[in-house]
Each structure stands twice: as structure tokens, then as C-alpha cells.
């Protein structure tokens, strides 16, 4: 019996990969009978996305360390593995075998849960990005009508993890990091949402696939250049990347909200930071630059190229610029980015009403 379920699940997975939604034995739209097969396929998909996300993070950290060393006239890691490629895996092993110190006066459950709250939205976000259509193959994990809303909901949860982590360690530096994180997150979430809504108005739907399909003539960056700038700055600020890395400022508060975390818990914060950077560059490539549209190569390659270009732009900004002060950060968010994003919303609404047929 289990062998039958196993074979049916493989068949279902392959058929879903080929765009055929083969769902026998349904009752009012819900699959019954072979529901174990569908469950196995779903679990396998999630694991695949997790592995892909980890691979992307590992590559991104390696590129970051090598690029930062390059700009600073030195050689990055080059002893572990050929050209230093296994360095991050060695670091992960080092972090795992470190002693895990939980402060005695800290709030134990919240302290331990906080890293996972920050890390999970990264993996869930990767499930939403459409990786393209390669001839008849379907490389999109989740495809329904409200994927962008889903994505925004996940990204809102992540800073809550930072705040919980900072507040539950019984430490004044972490408290300051958590407060700064709360203020920064609120200030930059509203312009980000408004510029996202402008894109949705132009495209006409909340689904990521429809947004990419609506850019088959021109990418959205051209009519919405203001929205692009606002979204770019807001994404840098949401993920605490320098120059906006106040919650985890390395030289002022010793390490911000992650001061009391040691070993692999800190490693999870670190990987979540880079994972968000990868996710943000893919989201920008999908929303403003056309996703998988491109002349010669298959679509997935184009998406990866666009994502990689944005990752390098994020890294260059990280390496070169200093840190802004808290009140200047909040000034930028509320006083400048918010009006610009509202202007952008008006422009895109006007375009959507009067210029029909293009999008």
C-alpha cells in the first residue's frame, strides 16, 4: 500500500513539473483518497526550496567575502577548498561545536525562538518567486492569485524576531538594538508597501506570474523610476544592511540585538541576513525588471543574471558607505521616501487608467 502511495506521489510530482495538474479522486475541489501522495510531494518541494535557498546563501556569502577582500586589496579566503569555496562550511562546523550560552536572566523560550522567526520568512519567500517557464516545464512552486501579498506578509514577520531577540536578552545593548530595529522597520515598511501597490496597479493582479507577464513590452522600472528608488532604499533598510544597519551596528552597540547570541544561533541570524539580501534582489528583478523575460537564453538564466547583478549592487553599497545616524534614518523614511512613494502611486494610477493595452 505504501509503495503505491510512493509511486503515485512521484507520478504526481513529475506531472506537476510538466504543467499538468493531475488530481483524480476529488470531492468538491479537495483531493481525497490519495492525499498522502500530495502531502509527500508538497514536503519534497519545500525541502528542495530550502536546499536551493541554502545554496544561494552559501554562494552569496562566499562572493561577499571575496569581493570585500578584492576591494580592500587583499585576498579573501583561499586555503579551505580550492579558492576558498568550502570556507563557509568550515565556519558552520565551527559555530555548531561552540558552547551554547543562554544568559541566566534571559527569557528562555523567547530567546531560543527568536532566530527561527527571523529565518523562516526567507525560505518561505523563495517559494513565491517564479523561476520561469523552460519550454513546457513549470518551475514555479506556488502559483495562485495572491503571491505578492503572501510575500509581504512574510517579510513583515521577520523584524518581529529581531525585536523579540533583543528584548529577551537581559542586556542594555540588546535593548537599544531592538528599539532601533522597531523604529526602522516601521519607518520603511510603509513606503515599501506603497511602491509595491503601484506595481500591482499597473500589472492588474497580485500574482507574481502576472506581474512578470505584464512586462513583456517594457520593464516596469521605466514608468516607475521613483518607485524603484524608494523600493531599493526601503529594502536596504528593512534587512539592516549597512549603511542602514543600525540595529546591529558593529561599532556602537557591541552587536545590537544579537549581542547575547553565541554559536549556531548567531549563525542563523547571519544566514538570515544574507538570505534576505538574495530574496530582495530576486524580488526586485521580478517586479521591476521583467523576471524571466529576455531574448536569447531560457528564462531562468535571465532571472538569475538579474538577481546576481542586484546582489552585487547591494554588496557594493555595503562595502563602501558608512553608517547613518538614527534620526537621519527616520527622517529619510518618513519625510522623504513617503511623499515620493505617494507621488509614484498617483503616476501609476494615472498610467493604468489612461494608457490601456500596454500592460
Amino acid at each position: 500500500m505504501t509503495l503505491f502511495f510512493f509511486l503515485m506521489s512521484i507520478l504526481y510530482g513529475i506531472l506537476k513539473f510538466l504543467h499538468i495538474n493531475f488530481v483524480p479522486f476529488t470531492y468538491a475541489g479537495y483531493p481525497i483518497g490519495l492525499w498522502i501522495a500530495y502531502l509527500i510531494v508538497a514536503v519534497v518541494e519545500v525541502l528542495l526550496v530550502f536546499i536551493i535557498a541554502m545554496i544561494v546563501v552559501v554562494i552569496l556569502v562566499y562572493v561577499f567575502r571575496k569581493y570585500m577582500a578584492d576591494v580592500q586589496n587583499r585576498i579573501g579566503p583561499n586555503r579551505v577548498g580550492k579558492w576558498g569555496t568550502l570556507q563557509l562550511i568550515a565556519d558552520v562546523f565551527k559555530l555548531i561545536q561552540k558552547q551554547d550560552i543562554t544568559p541566566k536572566t534571559a527569557d528562555r523560550i523567547a530567546f531560543r525562538v527568536a532566530p527561527y522567526i527571523v529565518f523562516t520568512p526567507v525560505v518561505l519567500g523563495f517559494m513565491v518567486i517564479p523561476f520561469g517557464n523552460v519550454s513546457i516545464l513549470n518551475l514555479m512552486v506556488v502559483n495562485f492569485n495572491y503571491t505578492i501579498l503572501f510575500l509581504v506578509a512574510f517579510m513583515t514577520v521577520a523584524p518581529v524576531g529581531e525585536i523579540i531577540g533583543g528584548l529577551s536578552s537581559h542586556n542594555k545593548f540588546s535593548l537599544y538594538g531592538a528599539l532601533r530595529s522597531a523604529a526602522q522597520d516601521m519607518a520603511y515598511e510603509v513606503p515599501m508597501l506603497i511602491s509595491l501597490i503601484s506595481v500591482v496597479i499597473l500589472a492588474g493582479s497580485y500574482s507574481a506570474v502576472d506581474i512578470v507577464r505584464a512586462q513583456h513590452l517594457i520593464p516596469f522600472v521605466i514608468p516607475e523610476i521613483l518607485g524603484f528608488i524608494v523600493f531599493f532604499l526601503a529594502m536596504i533598510a528593512r534587512q539592516s544592511i549597512p549603511p542602514f544597519d543600525l540595529p546591529e551596528s558593529g561599532s556602537e552597540l557591541v552587536s545590537g540585538f544579537s549581542t547575547e547570541y553565541s554559536g549556531m544561533r548567531y549563525g542563523i541570524f547571519y544566514m538570515a541576513n544574507f538570505g534576505f539580501m538574495a530574496l530582495a534582489s530576486f524580488v526586485i528583478a521580478v517586479m521591476y525588471f521583467g523576471g524571466w523575460e529576455g531574448p536569447v537564453f531560457p528564462g531562468t538564466v535571465w532571472l538569475i543574471i538579474k538577481g546576481a547583478i542586484f546582489m552585487i549592487i547591494f554588496l557594493l553599497v555595503w562595502v563602501s558607505l558608512g553608517r547613518v545616524r538614527v534620526d537621519q534614518l527616520l527622517n529619510l523614511g518618513w519625510k522623504y521616501l513617503l511623499p515620493i512613494s505617494i507621488v509614484n502611486l498617483l503616476i501609476s494610477s494615472a498610467l493604468a487608467i489612461y494608457v490601456t493595452g500596454v500592460f
Binding site: Q72, R74, S249, G250, S251, S320, L321, R323, R325, V326
Partner: protein, 368 residues
């Protein structure tokens, strides 16, 4: 709702306090209400140890005070002892001393620039400054044998001569140093993030400076034009041309500009010294084995010199024997650091690291 004031301790171990400084800060939200620096974590008894040995032996303790600019410390001691004992120093030795002191001033300001960038969050100018400083340290390795702590000056001259290879290295260094310095400075100078973070921050007015006894680049950035090299010239500073930069505002950005300009003027002095250096002896033959000659001295002397941090001098009292009776070090960072409470009151936490790194304290000197 009443105002609650939290007391936070920026402890001796901190990524950005330039050494072992402890500051007790009282915070109201993000605004600093009061800040008290607590020092003494690097006390190594330099004064007492100098009083237990002969005059030439105490030179190595002076090296280790401001370890980043060690030649200036040695110069302060050696000038005081020579003033006490009326020692004649040949001309070439004075020019060599000037050359070495100005090179060390540039090296010290490069350290300041790199760590200042780190405190502001910029990671890359740190490596560029260290790369430039490495060339100066190789020049020192060629002249004196050591990169950081030299033991090069002696009473009556210097220990060894400047080789022709060292002169070649200096000429090669100075041909493109100012261009590279301008390139590094341009990362800071016009960048809006840096300017907005440092303009108007950490202001000290003229009255504060006079009352705390602050000297050096901080004094010149607040409008007082004082430089010991121009007011009471000691080596041959009256025979070279250089200018003293002064600014009016007194904030962190003004101190940055003053130190950048000082580096350029020091490079100018170095190129003039190489041309003007005469041939001759580099030490006084009567004091050639200074350890064997039991130097006796009586009286007291103090010669002020200009170190990269401010006015530095050593006050020596001799009582007729070959061991000094009292050696008192006037360290500029100690006085500069005492202005921290006034400088920080009313500003935010982010301004704390900016202000303290603009004082440029070195704790070997503060704690002695």
C-alpha cells in the same frame, strides 16, 4: 510619566573605544545626559621605572607611551635631557630627527583616519590607510631597524645614520603619497553620509578649550592658531616652510579637515628636509658610549614639543646623581580626554563614538 535615566557602561572592552577606555553614560532615550570617562586600565609605571635607572635607559619607557608616534615621545625626552645637561648636538642629527618625527606624524594620523572610518561604519578606508602606512614603516625598518618601537634617538644625536637606500625609498614614497591621500580623503570628505554625521557634532568652544587645556589639532579646529613648532621652534622648524591649518567651527568635521591638511604639510616638510640635510656627524663623539659615561645632572628642564596629539613635554628634575629625581610626563591625550563630559552632553549615542574618535586618544599615553 516621569523621565527615567538609564546608566550604561561602555566598558573597557568595546569595539570602538580606541583602547581601554571606560565611559559611564547616563542616557535618556537616545540622548546623553552625562558621561564620565574612567581611565587607568593601562597603567604601566613609566615614570617610576624611569626614576630607577640611568638617564639613557629611560628612553625605552618613553617609546612605549604613545606607541603609534614613538619618535615624538623620544624627542621630547631627549630634548629635555640635553637641555638639562647642555649637550651640543651636531647639525645633521637635528635634521635627521626632524625627518623621522614628521614621518611618524603622518603615520599616526593615518592610524587615526583608518580607525575613524571604522567607527563610522566604513570598512574599506581602513585597509587603504594601512597600506599607505606600511610604506612608511618599511622606511623606518630601513633607517632604524624596527617598525614600531625604535629606541633610535640618543643623548647627543641619533643612533645610526640614514643610509642612501633609505633616502631613495623616501623619495619614491613622497612622489605619490599626496595623490593617494587625496583619494582616500575623497571617500570621506564630500560624502553626504559622513558630513551629515559629523557636522555640528561634538562642539567645543574656545572657552572650553582654554579651561580644559586642550592642545593639538582639536585646539586648531576651534579657532585658536597655536602650534609649538611655530611659536617656540625647537629643531630647525624655523628653516622650513609650512603652514598651520586652522578652522573655526570646532566640530568633528573641522578636526577631520585639520588633520588631513596637517598630513599634507608634513609631507611638504619631509621633502624640504631631504634637500637641506647637510653632511656630517650624526652623534656627539663625547657621548658616544652613552651608557658607559655616567651622566650627572643637576637642575630642572622642560622642553615642549608638538606631537600628533598635542603639546607633549617631559619635566625632569635632576639632583646631581646619575639617576633622575623626578620624571613627569605631560601627555596631551590626558588633557584632551578630560573634555569628554562637555563635548558629549546633549548629543546622541551615535555621536559618542564619533566624538571620541575625533579626540584620537592613545591609552599608553593617558595612563602612562
Amino acid at each position: 510619566m516621569e523621565e527615567k535615566v538609564i546608566e550604561v557602561n561602555f566598558g573597557p572592552q568595546h569595539p570602538s573605544t580606541h583602547g581601554v577606555l571606560r565611559i559611564k553614560v547616563k542616557l535618556d532615550g537616545e540622548i546623553i545626559v552625562d558621561a564620565q570617562p574612567i581611565i587607568g586600565y593601562l597603567h604601566r609605571n613609566a615614570e617610576k621605572l624611569s626614576e630607577m635607572g640611568t638617564y639613557p635607559k629611560a628612553l625605552i619607557y618613553m617609546d612605549r607611551l604613545d606607541y603609534v608616534a614613538a619618535m615624538n615621545m623620544e624627542l621630547g625626552y631627549v630634548l629635555a635631557v640635553e637641555n638639562l645637561m647642555d649637550v651640543q648636538v651636531p647639525e645633521r642629527a637635528q635634521w635627521i630627527r626632524m625627518l623621522v618625527v614628521e614621518l611618524n606624524r603622518i603615520a599616526s594620523h593615518l592610524v587615526w583616519l583608518g580607525t575613524h572610518g571604522l567607527d563610522m561604519g566604513m570598512l574599506t578606508p581602513f585597509f587603504y590607510c594601512w597600506r599607505e602606512r606600511e610604506r612608511i614603516l618599511r622606511i623606518f625598518d630601513e633607517i632604524t631597524g624596527s617598525r614600531l618601537l625604535y629606541n633610535y634617538m640618543s643623548i647627543g644625536g641619533v643612533y645610526s645614520d640614514v643610509t642612501p637606500k633609505a633616502l631613495e625609498m623616501i623619495k619614491e614614497w613622497e612622489s605619490d603619497f599626496v595623490d593617494k591621500l587625496n583619494e582616500i580623503g575623497s571617500i570621506f570628505q564630500k560624502s553626504y553620509i559622513y558630513v551629515a554625521r559629523t557636522k555640528g557634532v561634538g562642539k567645543l568652544s574656545r572657552d572650553d578649550i582654554i579651561s580644559y587645556g586642550v592642545t593639538g589639532p582639536m585646539q586648531r579646529a576651534s579657532g585658536m592658531k597655536r602650534d609649538v613648532r611655530k611659536d617656540t621652534p625647537y629643531l630647525f622648524y624655523d628653516r622650513v616652510n609650512f603652514e598651520v591649518p586652522v578652522r573655526e567651527e570646532g566640530d568633528v568635521y573641522a578636526r577631520f579637515l585639520v588633520r588631513m591638511e596637517e598630513m599634507r604639510q608634513s609631507a611638504k616638510i619631509v621633502s624640504q628636509v631631504i634637500e637641506k640635510m647637510p653632511e656630517g656627524e650624526f652623534y656627539n663623539k663625547k657621548y658616544s658610549k652613552p651608557m658607559l659615561v655616567r651622566l650627572k645632572a643637576n637642575g630642572e628642564s622642560y622642553v615642549p614639543t608638538e606631537s600628533p596629539k598635542g603639546e607633549f613635554g617631559i619635566y625632569i628634575i635632576g639632583d646631581g646623581s646619575s639617576i633622575p629625581y623626578r620624571v613627569r610626563i605631560r601627555s596631551p591625550s590626558f588633557a584632551n580626554l578630560s573634555s569628554v563630559p562637555t563635548m558629549l552632553k546633549g548629543y546622541k549615542i551615535a555621536d559618542l563614538t564619533a566624538s571620541i574618535s575625533s579626540i584620537d586618544p592613545v591609552f599608553g599615553e593617558v595612563d602612562r
